[in-house]
Symmetry: D2
Subunit: 237 residues, 4 copies
């Protein structure tokens, strides 16, 4: 555990966010940001019980004031430590959404980036691994399907921002990458949803996703990945 560095995860749930928290907590103290404390409380408790360091912050990523307050608190509580790793994991609901939500989601993507990039830049010289901003996308990052224009608009925009940030801040030493999650995720609340015929491992295991995101963080700066596709072995694509 390197206490001089920490990780932030924006967007916590029982799936990817939780798996990222446990994965990152093996190496760094983790800060979990979510709208509801119920999303992170048990994770924080669990990490601490295993000797790790974790704190949760309740914030609405669509509200600039809320984000400002959250990062203000992070800078106070993490005084003397540097941000080594930030993951932005806003999955949203994958149903037809009212237009307003799209704007909010996209705003989140921008604000999370705006808030973390400066912190990551200050860690370039000292961080044990290249400071990283990792974003989780979806099938809709690459394809605008019928009836999903709003979801796809948000995910396409998120991919655009990720590419732009990678090209701007990569040469300065910050690794920005997008993981395109192309399939259903194996989360407790979706056990009843049958995907790929219900075959074993037909949904992405959150721990497997977290393992690949961690690999992105460990990549040597001479050999960085920008976009990583992830899908179950049985997925049609």
């Amino acid at each position: 555990m390197e206490k001089r560095f920490y990780a932030i995860i924006v967007g916590i749930g029982p799936g990817i966010g939780s798996a990222l928290a446990f994965q990152f907590a093996k190496f760094y103290p983790v800060v979990l940001i979510s709208r509801h404390s119920s999303s992170y409380e048990s994770i924080v408790t669990d990490i601490k019980a295993h000797g790790g360091h974790a704190m949760g912050i309740t914030a609405d990523a669509s509200d600039p004031n809320s984000i400002d307050a959250a990062f203000g608190r992070i800078e106070r509580d993490m005084h003397g430590a540097n941000l080594a790793l930030a993951a932005y994991n806003a999955r949203g609901t994958f149903a037809r959404k009212p237009f307003l939500e799209f704007k909010v989601e996209d705003l989140q993507a921008n604000m999370a980036a705006e808030a973390t990039i400066p912190l990551l830049l200050t860690s370039v010289q000292s961080s044990p691994r290249p400071p990283s901003l990792l974003v989780t996308g979806a099938t809709a990052s690459l394809r605008g399907s019928a009836f999903f224009s709003t979801v796809a608009a948000g995910k396409f925009a998120q991919r655009a921002v990720t590419q732009s940030l990678a090209r701007e801040f990569g040469p300065q030493g910050v690794h920005v990458a997008l993981a395109v999650i192309d399939g259903g995720i194996d989360v407790p609340w979706a056990k009843h949803i049958v995907i790929n015929g219900g075959v074993e491992d037909g949904k992405l295991k959150p721990d497997a996703i977290a393992s690949s995101l961690w690999h992105l963080h460990t990549q040597h700066r001479s050999s960085w990945t920008l976009e990583l596709d992830l899908r179950p072995y049985v997925e049609k694509f």
Copy 2:
């Protein structure tokens, strides 16, 4: 001139919008929508002088009430006629933009689509050519470059919406397509900007773009294009 059908162009300037107006006016009465009447007045006059039919409407495409009013007026003035062709041409400024403008631009894309798709659907049986919604994109539709995250986010989102609409409304007979304008445009106000070494035809001629968009409109429904790239012969890409 088929008066039972008309065309709408959202976004008028001295470049692509103007060229589309003159191209479409050879076949249909045209409705030109812009924020400022100065953008369309001379075009309307010119088209009328050559025996065509044109009208201009001042509207702010980022304001739902303004768009509602514009389309209300169109339905009154065009009573009895059907929409055969709509072009959405919002080029915006290609400089680093404040985040707020991105939302506005994207909102425009959605509202223009929301307003025209129902009108185009009612023309499927009668229109002399497949009713079409044509959108003009840019290099940033396909690539998030450094420092252009806001532009790219808007153009990526626009491409996502275009794809989704094409997949939803194509099978119902409405041709939705994106023209990706990959280069500088030869407009009077940009004569001083040197692109591709200042070589002849090193910028896209608006008339040439209009010709290719018109081709998209004339494509038989058995053989439609979704995305059309356009660039000067000397462009590096």
Copy 3:
């Protein structure tokens, strides 16, 4: 009819090749190259009957000597005329193919290009439209599907060659473009094959494809398309 310029079509059948011949013959004398004279004889007769100019050449595009002989004959017979337009239309069979055929098909693509590019370059200054090399690809140009590795390898390779030639010879004035035919083609011998539920216009009409390829040839050099996707309005993609 501009007799000082002519067109070549490599790959003639009852579908796209035939439609290209009739389309191009409205503007240029056409040279049709095929392995079997039976593929072009009736087309040549038909074009002549309508006042056009056409000649057929039997050649095996996979045999360098055969191609050399064919182009030798073209240069003799067309003495004084310039090549304005070449279309390379090798559809092949879209079944699992033995590996050997792949090499042959790819060889064709290269040889056709090698043979026509120099002729097209000499027409840059004089041709009424930008001299063009147009290639017809397929869904497999963009996607390697299960069981179709050989077809996809050939079509991917063809796309690579097309891109490279476009980037090399475009700035010299030759328009190289790929049309990606993404769907079943409505040819007499395939009437019994049901695609898209047998709906009207659910297969690409060869005339519609020819119309779009002709548009590519007419594009002003300030605004060229590199890759044009074409598919039926009801196609799932």
Copy 4:
């Protein structure tokens, strides 16, 4: 070291091939296939000196008889062991190449796949990690640049084959993936070639590439990557 499983690397040199050998040898006995014994001899010696298991086979991957003989020997020598991992690393020379070499290179890709896929399939139930066929591509896998049509044709074809094999054999449990190496590689013989201004880590370190390929092999089958891009942090793209 799990002796019941082994790895094969086709294409050995002082760069990626060598790094893959050392990386894989930490976990499996490795079989190194190259045209010249001088390419693998010192690597085999080095791996053995560190307690690993390695053998070299001289074979010409473009000669079916040679490949048959090589795999015949592998099956004899590895009797009782199963293939867990095969890497196909044919970088070729990135200069303008005569057409004949392209065919050879592509042939290699197919034969290597044909020879290893059946062996990998038999390991699906027993292998400690999903049996994997990993292929190294290049910038030219995604882009046909001017003057590089032959290189790009080969790399595009290789990508097509990789996609097709992934879609065919992925659902059967074999992980097929392509690593797109987008930059110069830091090999001893290329020290004098200045890339990215000669900045530190401006070329891909072979060990870093090997680390990411190993990660692909360790991915859980619920979350597999098909295509992994790798480039230096300072690379323009």
